[in-house]
């Protein structure tokens, strides 16, 4: 019972961690929208898009960790 609770907590923490890069993706995408809607300097949008790409990779790594932890729990 305690082991199961610990496993659930671990997953919750991993999901929480995955929201970090998701949050960066969302906010940087909002910034790109602002740049395009208001004709702000293009560089800002390019920079935000690079951050989105990096955060996607980060998010993917974190999802992989969730998947791996699930595998470990099943074994």
């Amino acid at each position: 019972m305690t082991i199961e609770r610990n496993q659930n907590n671990d997953i919750r923490t991993l999901v929480h961690d995955a929201r970090g890069p998701l949050n960066r993706i969302s906010m940087n995408a909002e910034l790109v929208k602002l740049v395009l809607e208001n004709d702000l300097p293009r560089e800002k949008a390019v920079d935000a898009l690079s951050k989105i790409i990096a955060a996607c990779q980060d998010c993917s790594d974190k999802l992989q960790m969730i998947s791996d932890s699930q595998k470990d729990n099943n074994h």
Binding site: R12, R19, N23, R24, S26, M27, E30
Partner: protein, 441 residues
């Protein structure tokens, strides 16, 4: 404008959130930990704190407790959490001054928590603004935006031409904003200055240069250092002052009135006139050499009747502004917007803005329906229409055509009445209409 403290240990998030919140018109300070947040709060009071739930040195909840004790002023707190499950836990805390947001956040979420009153209106207006100040999506405006974008990247002097009320100063502001220059935008109206004072206004003066010069004064060229100088109604500048202006434009140096030292100046000059190029050439109000220095990049700003599609957008924006200022919720009906669009607005955007303001004042604040006056015509409107219709350089045929069109419009299409007004026979009128083809029914 709110003073916002953003507390989160994710630097990338705070970087981007900072830019977005700043764009929304608020002043932002950032803290990466509880310790840093406490340091900010020691010295400043904030209207709103966006607070991460889990920080490296403790929970954001600690800060809420401390705030209750330390501040007398009402501070609104939004807890940001990555755990939707925390929602339940926070429910007990959520008094009127505490709420929460769950990551990932969107701009709308932030707008909503920061501006609980009128978020929809703010969003609508900010979306419609180009360069932070121009409204319009019509083809002539898209062309104008492109020109502003292109010229903003250079340091070329710009001459804005267009009828009175088209928004020349707003376009100057747009060029200034798009240039992202370090200096300020300084505006001066050459038509509003007396012949005696214009030199002092433009180039500054030294103490004692003339009676009344009790101290030294910097001219607008100096004040616009590294920025933009907007010379409105530049064609109203006295001819004998223009060689001095030319010298500054060519040498990029000014000498204050009564001074001997030359001072380097660096600014883009955006000038404006409501005269057309033809008028400028004929009236000789502006020296040719000055014109070529000022109009390195001339921009024609379209009149409002050339971009009728933008009238509903502008009317909505002006009404939204008034609604926000006064806490009202007036809205246009479709027939009202059609009426506004059908009118020619000889006084352009300025006239439209005033008409909206007049209608706003006349409307019952308890209702959401706005009352438009039965007529928009103003004494100046008719003058400007007639003076704009005939200008040097037009062919006689075109002027005649325009005269017939205007007369027919005036008498609601009655050819007999039109012929009478024009002093020609109905047969001649028919012949002319037949020759032009355009008027054939």
């Amino acid at each position: 404008m709110l003073k916002v403290l953003l507390v989160d240990d994710d630097n990338e998030f705070t970087d981007v959130a900072y830019q977005i919140i700043e764009f929304l018109g608020h002043e932002v300070s950032v803290a990466g930990s509880l310790k840093e947040a406490r340091q900010w709060l020691e010295h400043q009071q904030f209207d709103h704190i966006l607070l991460d739930f889990m920080l490296p040195d403790g929970s954001g909840l600690h800060l809420i407790d401390e705030l209750d004790l330390s501040t007398g002023k009402q501070t609104f707190i939004t807890l940001i959490t990555g755990h939707p499950s925390v929602k339940g836990m926070l429910a007990g805390l959520c008094g009127p001054n505490v709420n929460y947001l769950v990551k990932p956040l969107q701009r709308e979420d932030i707008e909503e928590v920061l501006n609980r009153k009128s978020k929809k209106a703010v969003k609508k207006v900010s979306k419609a603004l180009h360069f932070g100040c121009l409204i319009g999506e019509s083809a002539p405006m898209q062309e104008l935006y492109l020109m502003i974008e292109r010229v903003a990247k250079t340091n070329a002097n710009v001459m804005l031409m267009g009828e009175s009320g088209v928004g020349k100063e707003v376009v100057a502001q747009a060029i200034h904003s798009a240039s992202q220059c370090e200096g300020p935008l300084i505006a001066t109206n050459c038509g509003a200055l007396s012949k005696e004072l214009i030199g002092s206004e433009l180039f500054g003066h030294e103490k004692g240069a003339f009676t009344g010069a009790v101290g030294r004064k910097d001219g607008v060229f100096e004040r616009a250092e590294n920025g933009t100088l907007f010379l409105d109604e530049v064609t109203e500048m006295p001819l004998d002052m223009q060689p001095n202006l030319l010298r500054v434009l060519e040498s990029k140096r000014v000498t204050r009135v009564g001074g001997t030292k030359e001072i380097d100046v660096n600014c883009r000059v955006v000038s404006a006139t409501n005269r057309s190029v033809n008028e400028l050439a004929e009236s000789k109000v502006l020296r040719e050499d000055v014109y070529f220095r000022l109009a390195v990049f001339p921009i024609d700003i379209p009149s409002l009747r050339q971009r009728k599609d933008d009238i509903p957008l502008l009317a909505e924006a002006f009404l939204n502004e008034l609604n926000e200022e006064n806490g009202t919720s007036f809205a246009w009906s479709k027939p009202q917007l059609t009426r506004l669009t059908d009118y020619d607005w000889p006084g352009n955007v300025r006239e439209l803005r005033h008409a909206v303001h007049r209608a706003f004042i006349m409307s019952d604040p308890e209702s959401s329906t706005i009352d438009l006056p039965s007529s928009f015509a103003s004494p100046f409107a008719s003058n400007s229409t007639s003076s704009n219709q005939i200008s040097a350089g037009q062919t006689i045929e075109n002027v005649e055509k325009e005269l017939i069109r205007a007369t027919l419009e005036k008498v609601n299409g009655s050819k007999t009445l039109a012929a009478e007004m024009l002093g020609i026979s109905t047969k001649t009128l028919y012949n002319r209409l037949h020759a032009y083809g355009d008027f054939e029914e």
